[in-house]
């Protein structure tokens, strides 16, 4: 499993580094001078109270926002700004806090859309549904079916996703991101609004994706239990500033983190 283009990064080496990134909207500083890295093969959590700049950080990484300062190094290539479809073709996939699916399309088509960048056959063959285009379509369909099996959503394949319950929509969205065979998968609150059982399912999918496909994962999550169980390393943001970075155990014991979450007497 490797994304097109770019050099390979060995497991344990830095896959993506964010250096001194600052982002503001008008006078509001969303992120100030934040640096951290994501290593190949790990599950990296980004946590923090509401308004800490977590989603902004994710949006900077996949090119939705362009930081005013700092740079992003992905697979050894430094750039001041990323463009979303460049990030995608470079191997960064993501899901959204408020599920962004193609609502009118079926679950299958949504996940197939994740294969867009990997389809290369000529447009006219595609129109005729013949020759190389047909072979390619079959091959992509096979990969997509694997993902559908992996996420156990076989029975909702043909359902337009707008009609699915929220938990399943989140799962389809994960499927679409996995279909891109990303090197780095960004998950923005994958368990938000889920009940315990759904959270457990989702946690298992995240762990399996990491294990089975070797996908590096960066996730934002509010449920501390989930974060502590899943992640290898955690970075903590508060008011756009990085206040801690380390293993779950280290972060848990960090006084600044406790203050940020519980408030501190001034």
């Amino acid at each position: 499993m490797r994304a097109p283009g770019g050099p390979d990064v060995a497991v344990g080496d830095v896959l993506l580094a964010v250096e001194n990134v600052s982002l503001s909207f008008g006078g509001v500083k969303a992120v100030s001078d934040v640096s951290f890295d994501i290593r190949k093969g790990e599950i990296r959590a980004i946590i923090g109270p509401n308004g800490a700049g977590k989603t902004s950080m994710l949006n900077v990484i996949n090119g939705f926002y362009h930081p005013q300062q700092g740079r992003i190094t992905f697979k050894g290539e430094a750039r001041a700004r990323m463009r979303p479809h460049e990030a995608a073709s470079g191997g960064i996939a993501r899901t959204f806090q408020n599920v962004a699916l193609f609502r009118g399309m079926t679950a299958l088509d949504n996940i197939m859309a994740g294969r867009t960048l990997r389809m290369h056959s000529n447009f006219f063959w595609q129109l005729l549904r013949y020759g190389p285009a047909m072979r390619e379509e079959v091959e992509h369909r096979r990969r997509v079916e694997e993902i559908i099996d992996f996420l156990k959503i076989q029975e909702i394949r043909r359902v337009p996703v707008g009609r699915l319950p929220y938990g399943l929509q989140k799962r389809v969205e994960l499927g679409r991101a996995l279909a891109m065979e990303p090197e780095l998968l960004l998950l923005d609150e994958p368990m938000a609004g889920m009940n315990l059982e759904e959270k457990e399912d989702m946690s298992r999918f995240v762990l399996d994706a990491n294990d089975h496909y070797g996908t590096t994962i960066a996730l934002i999550e509010h449920d501390m239990g989930v974060v502590m169980d899943l992640s290898d390393r955690v970075v903590v943001l508060d008011h756009g500033i990085k206040i801690a970075d380390g293993t779950p155990a280290e972060v848990k014991g960090n006084q600044a983190v406790i203050d940020a979450y519980l408030g501190v007497a001034h």
Binding site: G63, D109, F123, Q126, E173
Partner: protein
């Protein structure tokens, strides 16, 4: 005879006693409706992919036709002129994306809508400046489009069918079928539908919005060119055409803004309804009904089925 008889009974008696006239009226209505449908199709393509209600679609029809005839009139061979016009429509799509859509990305819909008004007046100005404002004759013969009429003796009378209209029907059907396959079966088609549903999600899977916008505006430009050729052949090529292009609005209300089948069915309903009404009911109120009939139908639809026949019913999960 009372007015009730004249309104509710007499027209149907006429239809029954002179079926040849009925068939003739239906055919005329269908041909007119098809042209409305094609304009509406241009609107739908752009609206689906970018959420922009392109007021300039009607003018793009005139602009395309004018470019074709204008190039021919300065001595460019007909088919080369056709090729060049296609290139001009591509150039237009490219320029619109660069200069209008891209700077206004993420602005409210109404801003983009107003921008297409600006585009409309720009195209009128540019068209008049380059090719002159006088009505021109469409180059039908030079493009090997058939001329003249075929008449059938049938149903106790004569039915006359313009060969050009038959050609228009065939070409329009092929084009619509092509677009349908394109949208449902190709990678770019899937990307187009994806963009229509969610910009953020489309970007995240690596679809370039810019590229998609150029493609849809180009597709809408091609539809405009085909519409312009056939419409220009029925009347003249002049900016008066854009008043007729406004008839696409009721068609869109009937068919739903996002539905390609809706645009076609809506166009045919308006076209046929308009002709039937004018022919059978028009004389009762002094004629001239085709100026308003379509809009009244649209009003009725807005009251009872505001999402149109095929439009997406808006369901919000709460």
């Amino acid at each position: 005879m009372g007015p009730l008889y004249q309104i509710f009974i007499d027209p149907f008696v006429q239809m029954g006693t002179a079926p040849d006239l009925l068939v003739q009226t239906l055919w005329e209505g269908m041909v007119g409706g098809m042209l409305y449908a094609l304009i509406a199709l241009g609107f739908v393509l752009i609206f689906k992919a970018s959420g922009v209600f392109n007021f300039a679609q009607g003018i793009m029809v005139v602009f395309a036709a004018l470019t074709l005839v204008g190039l021919y009139n300065v001595g460019v061979p007909a088919f080369l002129a056709l090729g060049l016009t296609i290139a001009v429509m591509f150039g237009l799509a490219f320029v619109v994306e660069r200069l209008v859509l891209r700077p206004l990305v993420n602005q409210p819909d109404i801003i983009l809508f107003m921008a297409t008004f600006g585009l409309t007046y720009f195209l009128i100005g540019a068209g008049e400046f380059v090719f002159g404002g006088d009505p021109k004759v469409m180059i039908t013969e030079q493009l090997f489009l058939p001329k003249g009429a075929v008449t059938y003796k049938a149903l106790g009378g004569i039915i006359s069918v313009q060969k050009l209209d038959v050609a228009a029907a065939v070409i329009a059907s092929v084009m619509v079928a092509g677009l349908a396959v394109f949208f449902s079966k190709t990678r770019i088609g899937r990307a187009l539908r994806a963009v229509a549903d969610s910009h953020a999600a489309a970007l995240s899977v690596g679809i370039s919005l810019e590229q998609i916008w150029v493609i849809v505006w180009f597709a809408a430009g091609l539809v405009a060119l085909v519409t312009g050729i056939f419409w220009g052949a029925r009347s003249d090529v002049s900016f008066a055409l854009d008043v007729i292009a406004l008839k696409a609005l009721p068609v869109l209300i009937l068919g739903g803004l996002t539905s390609i089948p809706g645009a076609i069915v809506g166009g045919l309903i308006i076209g046929i309804g308009e002709k039937m009404w004018e022919f059978y009911w028009g004389p009762l109120i002094g004629g001239g009904t085709d100026a308003w009939f379509a809009y009244v139908i649209a009003l009725v639809f807005l009251l009872f089925k505001p999402q149109g026949l095929f439009g997406e019913k808006i369901i919000e999960r709460v």
